[in-house]
Symmetry: D4
Subunit: 249 residues, 8 copies
Amino acid sequence: MIAEQLETLLADVAAGRLAPQAALERLRHLPFEDLPFARIDHHRALRQGHPEVVFCEGKTPEQVLAICERLESASGSFLGTRANEAVASRLRERFPGIVWNPVARTVHLSPTGSPRARTGPILVVSAGTSDLPVAEEAAVVSEVFGHDVERLVDVGVAGLHRVLAASDQIQRARVVIVVAGMEGALPSVVGGMVSVPVIAVPTSIGYGASFGGLAALLGMLNSCAAGVTVVNIDNGFGAAAAASRICRG
Amino acid sequence: MIAEQLETLLADVAAGRLAPQAALERLRHLPFEDLPFARIDHHRALRQGHPEVVFCEGKTPEQVLAICERLESASGSFLGTRANEAVASRLRERFPGIVWNPVARTVHLSPTGSPRARTGPILVVSAGTSDLPVAEEAAVVSEVFGHDVERLVDVGVAGLHRVLAASDQIQRARVVIVVAGMEGALPSVVGGMVSVPVIAVPTSIGYGASFGGLAALLGMLNSCAAGVTVVNIDNGFGAAAAASRICRG
Amino acid sequence: MIAEQLETLLADVAAGRLAPQAALERLRHLPFEDLPFARIDHHRALRQGHPEVVFCEGKTPEQVLAICERLESASGSFLGTRANEAVASRLRERFPGIVWNPVARTVHLSPTGSPRARTGPILVVSAGTSDLPVAEEAAVVSEVFGHDVERLVDVGVAGLHRVLAASDQIQRARVVIVVAGMEGALPSVVGGMVSVPVIAVPTSIGYGASFGGLAALLGMLNSCAAGVTVVNIDNGFGAAAAASRICRG
Amino acid sequence: MIAEQLETLLADVAAGRLAPQAALERLRHLPFEDLPFARIDHHRALRQGHPEVVFCEGKTPEQVLAICERLESASGSFLGTRANEAVASRLRERFPGIVWNPVARTVHLSPTGSPRARTGPILVVSAGTSDLPVAEEAAVVSEVFGHDVERLVDVGVAGLHRVLAASDQIQRARVVIVVAGMEGALPSVVGGMVSVPVIAVPTSIGYGASFGGLAALLGMLNSCAAGVTVVNIDNGFGAAAAASRICRG
Amino acid sequence: MIAEQLETLLADVAAGRLAPQAALERLRHLPFEDLPFARIDHHRALRQGHPEVVFCEGKTPEQVLAICERLESASGSFLGTRANEAVASRLRERFPGIVWNPVARTVHLSPTGSPRARTGPILVVSAGTSDLPVAEEAAVVSEVFGHDVERLVDVGVAGLHRVLAASDQIQRARVVIVVAGMEGALPSVVGGMVSVPVIAVPTSIGYGASFGGLAALLGMLNSCAAGVTVVNIDNGFGAAAAASRICRG
Amino acid sequence: MIAEQLETLLADVAAGRLAPQAALERLRHLPFEDLPFARIDHHRALRQGHPEVVFCEGKTPEQVLAICERLESASGSFLGTRANEAVASRLRERFPGIVWNPVARTVHLSPTGSPRARTGPILVVSAGTSDLPVAEEAAVVSEVFGHDVERLVDVGVAGLHRVLAASDQIQRARVVIVVAGMEGALPSVVGGMVSVPVIAVPTSIGYGASFGGLAALLGMLNSCAAGVTVVNIDNGFGAAAAASRICRG
Amino acid sequence: MIAEQLETLLADVAAGRLAPQAALERLRHLPFEDLPFARIDHHRALRQGHPEVVFCEGKTPEQVLAICERLESASGSFLGTRANEAVASRLRERFPGIVWNPVARTVHLSPTGSPRARTGPILVVSAGTSDLPVAEEAAVVSEVFGHDVERLVDVGVAGLHRVLAASDQIQRARVVIVVAGMEGALPSVVGGMVSVPVIAVPTSIGYGASFGGLAALLGMLNSCAAGVTVVNIDNGFGAAAAASRICRG
Amino acid sequence: MIAEQLETLLADVAAGRLAPQAALERLRHLPFEDLPFARIDHHRALRQGHPEVVFCEGKTPEQVLAICERLESASGSFLGTRANEAVASRLRERFPGIVWNPVARTVHLSPTGSPRARTGPILVVSAGTSDLPVAEEAAVVSEVFGHDVERLVDVGVAGLHRVLAASDQIQRARVVIVVAGMEGALPSVVGGMVSVPVIAVPTSIGYGASFGGLAALLGMLNSCAAGVTVVNIDNGFGAAAAASRICRG
């Protein structure tokens, strides 16, 4: 139940078409439905501003489908992350209109109406080719959440001229998401160039003492550029959700 | 040199009172001055939107004073964090107008003009009494950066009614900074209640397997509330800088 | 040899049907048998209140079968955890009456008599769909140990209303087992709601800086709800064993 | 407001001496009071079965006193942990009846009525002389919470005969709290001897690769005795709170 | 070139059959041969008392064979650890007399003469069925090095009676190797029972917070039984080599 | 009660001067005495071959004195480790004959009879000046336990000629204890030179990424010299106890 | 665009065949080209002295090919590391002249002209057979960068005579790259023998507490031989790049 | 005994003034002297190119003095690092000509002759004011070793213009030592700008999740600029020794 639907309900109450007590009861009973293996939270759109997102990794295609069917019937749309081909295929049988992005590993069904335009753009900067899956997850989720998105790829701190050449593009973003593995230094450089929010996403790319992204994570937490914030390793979705919170503000 | 001063310079150029070449030269030579032990970056206000902040820990009062004198002569103001009483006393001899907050461990000299009002409020939520120094650092820095600030103290997840009782206050913030030690669960709860940006600050409060804030840091990075971002342990200043980036957007 | 069988033996002694010395000798020689690869401890039921449980992971189906045959002949029942389909199939050939739960990965043969009713219920709460295998292991083992079990699934701290809606159910449990991955905050919330024992089980669910459950483990150890205790990562069996110790008290 | 006081209130409602609406309002406004630096949760006794406990470390004697005064006026009693001599002295000036235990570092004011007898005993076992402060914290808090407590000191796994000699005492406990540093093996041994709940408390005692209690913590989490649960390093209070939850069940 | 062969050489020198200078030169040129991928150290038997052992993991069967051929031609025997079936098959084609132990994952070719009897016995104690491969590696290597070996399997600290029942056997060993995973407590118990050397081998057996044997390793390093020494995780070979050093002393 | 005293007791039994039952009872009641804060294990000399050693760190001089008085009255001797000057002074008032070694931080009272000569020598090798306290603890404890001890100081792997120059001394030891901080490579070098047991003691000496001795500990556990065993960081006492076990064999 | 090509361009400018402004513009626009998934930095040869190297792991053969085609057309050569057979085969179809080294996992296309001779030799020392892939990566990359390379294999610190026997060869190197796993002690020994730069490469070889190369890494960082520097675990390429920087100086 | 002295000795041999046998004997007996607590390696200058350096931390002023006296009598000079005021004062009493640098914490006595000019310059770049002690240690040691040294202070990656403004100075160095705490990103930026060797020194500066320099260390090991090498945390001396090895080549 998205915001529009709730407004209708409240208008019905205001117009006397629905008793407050009945409205309250309906609201109280709506929050989540009982699937045998998951409870779906249709109110999240109200509280957090975007529909519940299905983390597909570790769920069978059938489980994902069952959850998405409930989401679709409640709100007309859904978004899945970490969706492999098997999940996408199973969903497509039931919802031919889905869009699956194999690099970003996202699958989503757009609502029928056009998304409300929101502030932006959100700029997604990535340091290396290997960081692309995480960067694309951030970019696609941002788009699905209704924001304009720009991308800037393969700009590493060992080649500063690449970053500097993109200075204008970086400056005009509303939020910058910086995706980097290895030493995770790129957010510090970008954070020093702009005054807008910078969200750093460490990736598990690297070898040896990168320890699965730990080096990049620690680097970003210790950034010497004040005001850089960090999300979990490889968590492109989380960065997009944070960027969306900022843009909606 | 803050934005206002730069505008004057550019106006002088536009009015023909200053040759562009001379202006450029002045700008090029302004960025930093050579102290024997530190370079001060007066342009930072242009790039990042707030004056350079002096991290006082590990510096002698004399070193802090020398840096602040340069900052004051360039911009008329300064802000120091992790400032103990010795630092504050030394600065007060030279700048009687400073404000020292012993809980937040901040010291600052306000610019003569009143700060431009900015969006807000920034709400600083803290979980326990012991988290107050970090929370106050976040709050005071936010105020010095020109934002309205509200505080909500001692709301822990083991007593949910406390959080819920403050629901209205939490909902109307532009940004929420959540400061918590121990298991670091409060940002997840707050993040699930609001759609605005939530910045989590782990503190080193706790004992045993809190490992100096590591438990809270990991908890916040793994928050099940999408879109929560994290800054370094005890980094109240960084959270305020990030919140300020968001509010200025 | 479970408690009932021991009572018979002691009764025989009391009735003069068995000399004390002979009884002592029999007891002394019973404790464990010599398999080539494992010693089975039939006295454990006496000392710890439940039969020895076979941890099947890393054992061949033949090894599991050999151990279970000895257990069955001594006590008439057995319980295996981490049992995959191959193990279950091999056991079923020999013991058609076994029950295999593929989600919980448990297999057990019930004793012929009905289990003595014990106090309860034990409530197993889990945070996410992915936590289900661990939660089910805890639930099934609790049932096999003779306790009433209730389940509450998919209640995360980012959606507090879900937890609050189940408040009544949580309050009436004798023990609450809380299974959660990611930041591991759910036990703190539940621990703050009830006065009964709360056993926290961190799971290895999560990604990035969850570090295979370390984040959840540290979060639970640092819980701000006093009196929450913790078992090993993914150790649903251990939580059930602890809950059973409490209920038998 | 402890349970007795609440029963009076409810009886007043039942007897018509207090309108339900007025009672509700009073309850709603009672939960916590606003100190400038802490909120006190008087309802906790209702929800969790014991009064809020003040963690004194990191608080000034004045702050502790202010919190204890509110607690005393609401419930007639209080309990502080990690209380050093300065805290105890300051509290004694105001509350001459307090009891301070310098080994356990606890300070408490007993309620005027005698505590209701509760099940027990809780047995606190400690491995070495150096573990005594943590063990005593567990023991004293258990006593303050109204339980019978027994102590068994200096029984290590390298001298099994010591443990075995106390076998009878261990067997008759309702709950066993085992406090140990170094390799943390004692809970496994005790857990294998009894069928009652065993709560393990790792201590930071040890040197070299004990890493501040990490070795003992990991040892206890990996205990081969099924059903042993663990609390945080040095957290004697937490173990007592957990034991109290079990005994009250 | 084993000790016997060296004695012959020296005897030849003493008898005038070999000039000292020629003997020296031969010795100097013998130490290692140049294979394209490995240098073999035939003198090790002189310096360390046993032939060089081939760690087969990560080497191709052909590489292992080439190394063993050189060892065999120099000394008449060899020993390989971590040898899988492919390695064993390849070696058997060339050396039909090899012995392969699939549990211990060892393969060896005995010297033609019978090994000199050495002191002992070396007792290998293991805690669980899953620890058997490491325990067997320790036992078989000890035997190949010429020692009498006894085995005691499946004696865990949660069932003390099992350990105590084997007290006599443990007491009469010359060295005890204790192999254990999980909390690694068994060496402390055994170390407290005997005055002979105790070598602890942590295994990677366990789950959750065992962290691949780290918990057991730390437990053993922090053993409260004085004089227990530790080798690397899963390093059954190293324990046997250490035991052999002791027995040869 | 050391071995000699026990022999007397048994001889009394054999001679009819003491009834077996009385002897048994005395033995059963002897094992440990009840001090308020510690139990002393007089039987340890029987089981492990040396008297109980008092770890003085973290105990008050009065506590140490009380324990030593019991030990002295039972066996005529005691040994304390990590003994600072305050402890030594307090003990000297009561036992003028004690020997305090301020570098090794040991204090001991020798038994009146001369120690029985034991095999040896035990060679203690240390890598740097800063490792001396740990090396001396190992050496002094070895001497107190009745062994001949030799010392070899300041031989590091970056100056191989130092090690090689001492080759003869190293070769003739019965056991070598190698004490080293930093990268902990010395035991590998020594282990490759001799065939006798090598016990490695990592020290917390070093800076930066030595992490309090962790680097040396890991280096020693991964030694490429087969059969090197390791004790805890800075645990000179433990190394001596292990060496003593070997020499007594 | 390698240095030669740049010299041509500059000569054209000097000769008046190219206007400075045009040259500048061309240079400014040359730095990188836009592939959909990677930006290639042709200027790197100018700035860092060697062409950009393609890290092939995690890229498809098609992606590697596309990058190499751009590199070849710009500079006539390329170098790929971590190249498996699939990558090599795909490249060979297009560039028959490539050289693929399956042990070093490198693939490269040499420039048509002969490489300029550079100082050397670079000596690559490796400790064990299992370290060969990393050592070969260092050796081959050094050769491709135009340096003379020598190799010394299988010299471990447990057999010092092997190192000493190669003393002459080690002494005459311009730079020594030392590749070692396990305890990582070899660089300390080599560093103590020579006065030239020593670059240490820890490898992930080892088991148990080697923790994927962490033990070797820490050992090397804590080397007691002053002036040893370290690169990332398994980073043979990085060591070669560092050695090349030194030789070109 | 530095190189010059050795040359004299060898010349004496060549000229017949010293018998070879006598020369050999003198050399053999020179390597180190026996102090009770340290062996001094006078040959190190021959092998490694600089005199032995005394790490003063953890040594008493008397111990430092005794070592320096031996060094001075052998070579006429010495260098101490981590020297506090007490050490410097004690040395000055005996050697009035010493130079003590309280920021670098170095103390040294120059040889009477002027140092031979060596290649350079060595450029020491530091990121923040707090990194100065480590940077100064690197700079002063480099000077004492006979190299020209330049310094560049307070250039962080969050203010790229500072680094770029010093581009010319950075380009002309023979070696660059980069000292940085926090995220340790500066070496990547500098490494991308130059083709000469870059030695990275992580410092323990930072707070929260910098974990005593671990974040900077990991960042530097994972640098995306190929050929950056790393020394231990805070090890300014080691960086200077490595730079000196390079410059002497």
